[in-house]
């Protein structure tokens, strides 16, 4: 059985009866059992997955109506709620939290007969870009297990890249889908803000984050987007996409399209291999008839600072609810007064979360907000203005997804500032609400390099078309695991 097929191929194979959902899911579980000791993508495995696949096979055989996923095995980042299963956010704080409800994306995928093989690792509460900040230990990059897989949706990227599932859902607050996609050589998609319901996604910085798919191909991302996007009464920030079909016309090409090369994203600190891959990508796109031109987005240089200020502020508020009174982990309440209890109970947050809580308590506080938080909001609105201006001229903006290659586990963990700066190319899409995608493009000494394309709000469909065009120019080696 070939586990290395795309989602669309899987569906085709099941439809024509070449494979059964049960076989495929069983083999996937075996694969997880054989490689995940090394990779640590998964935090929990769904032990009913094979039974669920068998049920789907039965329904297929009896000719009943079947959902578009046909039992496809999908992994879910552990900050998305699946009813009656543990959702820990890779934190000790939520060690025993069992979600009593399904996230909207989970409800939608269940209706389409997807099978959730397990919940996958992440940086604690999605804060990080290496998955080293998981309270349950880091995930490893399948291309070289001494290297980080990126993050925070590291488990998602590893599980897709190492064939432990066909597709995964991650969340992207400042690049958390695109960064690990780039480091693990998968496609990672961050849609327009509001395109996918966040109901059931545990908030980190709710005003800018989105759930997004990680897949083997661009078409698979479009397919996933078809299933999980759209307006949701449970999330007031969702937008109506009128049931857009992101797959139709995906092969339209990019002839005549204008692409802006963001100067600030290929400047100081960029790895030469990444720069040369980016130039190569630009040449390939020009070869397909696109018109590429450099553009300066001045505010990009402040974007990381603004990003960390805003996300810390929102995180400080979003994570305040974890006082261990209503749910959490085993730590009895008796004998404490409220304030002393919560300050003790909240020590279960890991170091990175604690760092951001402290920043989040400071930057929006009275007397400091003007210098930090309000200034960050100003950067956000100026950046949005500049990007909107750019999209008057360009159809897409291009940059490397991450300016550096994957780094070794432990290499940067004690240097938060240099870690923060790795986000420079991804945070703009979040701060401005624009859709962005990372496409596996190149490989340097066995380490993957991804290229990022960004489009204007609600232009997700044309963005996927451009990404598909670029993807067709690529021929990459197979993951060595």
């Amino acid at each position: 059985m070939n586990l290395k097929i795309s989602a669309l191929d899987y569906i085709q194979e099941v439809k024509i009866g070449n494979i059964s959902a049960e076989d495929f899911v069983a083999k996937t579980i075996e694969r997880i059992q054989s490689v995940d000791d090394k990779l640590h993508a998964f935090l929990s495995i769904n032990d009913k997955a094979v039974d669920q696949a068998r049920e789907i096979d039965k329904r297929i055989k009896s000719g009943k109506k079947i959902g578009n996923c046909f039992g496809m095995p999908i992994s879910i980042k552990d900050n998305i709620c699946i009813k009656d299963s543990k959702t820990t956010c890779a934190s000790k704080m939520l060690e025993n939290f069992i979600a009593p409800y399904d996230a909207t994306v989970i409800t939608k995928l269940k209706q389409q007969d997807a099978i959730f093989v397990g919940k996958v690792n992440m940086d604690e509460f999605a804060m990080g870009l290496s998955t080293e900040f998981s309270a349950y230990g880091p995930s490893k990059n399948p291309w070289n297990i001494e290297y980080v897989p990126g993050g925070s949706s590291g488990g998602s990227a590893v599980s897709v890249s190492a064939f432990e599932c066909i597709a995964s859902l991650g969340s992207d607050t400042g690049g958390s889908v695109r960064n690990p996609a780039s480091f693990c050589s998968t496609v990672g998609y961050k849609p327009t803000y509001g395109l996918i319901s966040r109901y059931g996604l545990i908030s980190y910085a709710n005003s800018i984050e989105q759930i997004g798919p990680l897949t083997r191909t661009v078409k698979d991302s479009a397919f996933m987007l078809n299933l999980i996007s759209g307006i949701d009464s449970n999330d007031n920030t969702t937008v109506d996409n009128k049931n857009e079909d992101y797959l139709s016309g995906i092969e339209s090409g990019i002839e005549g399209k204008k692409i802006g090369i963001i100067k600030e994203m290929i400047g100081d600190g960029i790895d030469p291999a990444v720069l040369s891959a980016t130039k190569d990508a630009i040449a390939k796109l020009e070869g397909l008839g696109a018109i590429c031109e450099e553009i300066s987005i001045d505010m990009v240089k402040y974007s990381v600072a603004a990003y960390y200020t805003i996300t810390a502020t929102e995180a400080g508020s979003n994570l305040a609810r974890y006082d261990n009174i209503r749910y959490g982990y085993d730590f009895p309440l008796e004998g404490y007064e409220f304030n002393s209890y919560i300050s003790k109970a909240r020590r279960n947050f890991g170091p990175e979360v604690t760092r951001r809580m402290i920043i989040g308590g400071f930057v929006p506080s009275a007397g400091h907000a003007g210098k930090y938080f309000l200034k960050a909001l100003k950067v956000k609105s100026k950046l949005t203005k500049e990007i909107n201006e750019a999209f008057k001229k360009f159809d897409f903006l291009i940059s490397p997804t991450v300016p550096i290659l994957p780094f070794k586990i432990g290499e940067k963990i004690d240097d938060p500032i240099s870690l923060f700066l790795v986000d420079i190319n991804t945070v703009t899409a979040n701060l401005t609400g624009k859709p962005a995608i990372s496409i596996p493009f190149s490989n340097s000494n066995g380490l993957p390099i991804g290229i990022q394309l960004m489009a204007d709000s609600m232009n997700d469909k044309s963005l996927l078309q451009a990404a598909y065009a670029l993807e067709q120019t690529v021929n990459l080696p197979e993951v060595p695991i």
Binding site: L94, A99, A103, G200, S207, N234, A320, F338, P364, F373
Partner: protein, 468 residues
Amino acid sequence: MTMIGLEIHCQLTNLNSKLFCSCKANYREFKINENICPVCMGLPGSLPRLNQEAVKKATIIAMALNCTTPKKIAFFRKNYFYPDSPKNFQITQLNIYGDTSVGGTGSVMIGNKKIRITRIQLEEDPGRLIYEGSSSKNQITLVDYNRAGTPLVEIVTEPDFETPKEVRDFLNILSDILANLGVADPSLEGAMRADANVSIEGGKKVEIKNIGSFHDLEKAVHFEITRQESLHSRDIEIIQETRHWDDKRKITVSSRSKEEDLDYRYFLEGDIPWVTIDPDIKKKLQAEMPESISSKKERYVSKYNIPEQVADVLSSDKYYSDLFEEAHTESNAKEVANIITTELMGLVDTREKREASKFTSTHLRDLADAIQFGKVSRNSSKNALHEILKSGKDLSTIISELDLGNVSDVSELSEIITLVISEESQAVEQTKSNPQTINYLVGKVMQKTKGKADPGLTLDLLKKQIGV
């Protein structure tokens, strides 16, 4: 000069659901922690979904209190840790980044005095803490989240009050206005609560919290003024602080927690997009607004010739004015008003009594008509009313069952009159010199008929038989 300002919280009890989820706004009928869901419990991953009806109701309140209403409203997070707050922040409104609360400046008249409203904001109520255990050693705190997320409006006034009495009058008027708008039932326990700011000439502002009832609010304000004046007279500085009302000792006590030092780190609630309230919606809301108390009163006086004082009492209470509106006709309006204000108000003066009674507006209309057409005497009508409240039977059944109908049969009445004339010969003589005496004889007839004789007919027949 003494300056008193108020912060009034009123639950929008007439809404169907909570502010951000579909749990019931009327949490009172539930067992502990049974009116909750992932949203109002602030469970990880849950998101608020704004109850649009609550925005409308709050806008109606703003309009009724003559407040400005912005084109767009926004919600903010007020961050603080407290066990009754499931998210450890409250979703509320704020005006520091422009007027984005549901109501801006406005005013309410108490008599001839204008009380200015600073702003009105829509926000969520927290859960309820229940303390158990007698001593601090074995005390435990339990939390009931049924109330968490109940829609509240906070009405903030300028410090325009000068006396506790003005405060009390204002709260009564405000509570009548809110009830009349059909947005809230302020008489429900805990539905309407108020904090007060008190400062005297030369002193600092002191905030009083935790006041259970309007009655206690008046007392608390009174106590606080006295306390501050006493400090002032002894040249002791009045410090700016928050004090709590001690319900048992009826005094204010300095709060040990320094609430004024709390930094709420307000920022925009990103999960709720700005809400546009366009002029068309406002126009529609204005048109749908119930008639105001003052306009009702005016109508009762001018159209039905109801005495001003009666009209005042009748119009200000929603329960009674609704009854009046449903029961009255062009001809019986005065009688209906009379029954309500002289009889009914004394009998169903509490919510419990109203709810227990089986009284309807149909009863009221029948009763007023029966009095007007002489079917029952005013006297018997009181007995009938008692019976209606108890049994809920219709008036005609009650009249026949209790034999309350007027004696208006000429031969039956004539017999009784003949008897009275024979017994009261002296009085009969007197009527010839003093015509007023005839009323005494009417009274005697009433006595014999237990008040059921038709008074007009009795008088006619008496006059005829005596020959005056």
